[in-house]
Amino acid sequence: MSDIIFHVFAFLTIGSSVAVVINHNAVNSALAFLVGLFGVAGLFVLLDSFLLAVLMILVYAGAVVALFLFIIMLLDMKGGERKAFSKPTAIAGLIGAALLAVCSTSLAKGFNLLPPADAASVIPVGATLRNYADQLFTVYLLPVQVVGFLLLIAMLGVIVLSKKFEGLEDVK
């Protein structure tokens, strides 16, 4: 049963990622990204990380995609005419495809060298909130404070960036 659910969520994730890339309209891309995030949250639930699944929906789907949609509508972009790829872009795309091929074949071939533990035999430590609290307030206490400071700096940076400076208009 969980196999079928995994395949559904994996298909949702991959399919909507493709939709993000190939959609011509930026709004459609953002909505496809939203669907993909729900797929990722489903995968997290299957991996017994319930807190991260909820956070994924709250932070990404709730805040990030909403911000993206807001900016897309604020800027009110035209569709933009399609232009042929320049030569470097085409070469870079080919290199990317080759990297993907190498990556997936090596993953598929060399994976059984070190078989992972079976999911049923490993305790799902990510399932309980208590483990997060234990880690975040002991081992990772300094990173938590640094991340809080980072959020403060980001907020100040956004305020400065979106402010209009009167004297700087002639510096074009």
């Binding site: 993000v20 990380s49 990030v64 990297l99 430590v125 975040l136 980001a154």
Partner: protein, 102 residues
Amino acid sequence: MSSIGLFHYLMVATLMFSIGFVGVLIRKNTLVIYMCLELMLVASTIALVAFSRFNGTMDGNVFVFFILTVAAAEVAVGLAIIVALFRRRQTVQVEELNALKN
């Protein structure tokens, strides 16, 4: 007994990362490029959570926690930069943003 193992989750993460990478290369709209960057970030979180689950450790999960925070801050700053850029240049298409070229 489920037959879905670490390999399947890593495969999903790899595919998603590559799709995001290709999107960064082929798209011309800065906002969509930014969305593809986010796709790559999310793909890496899938791999981290999967490794964490199949090894029975907390570190990957906590890492994803921090990645989410940093991603939120990064999106806010990045979109502010894009808006400032649009105010000055009236475009967000990358092929028209070539002031530093020559």
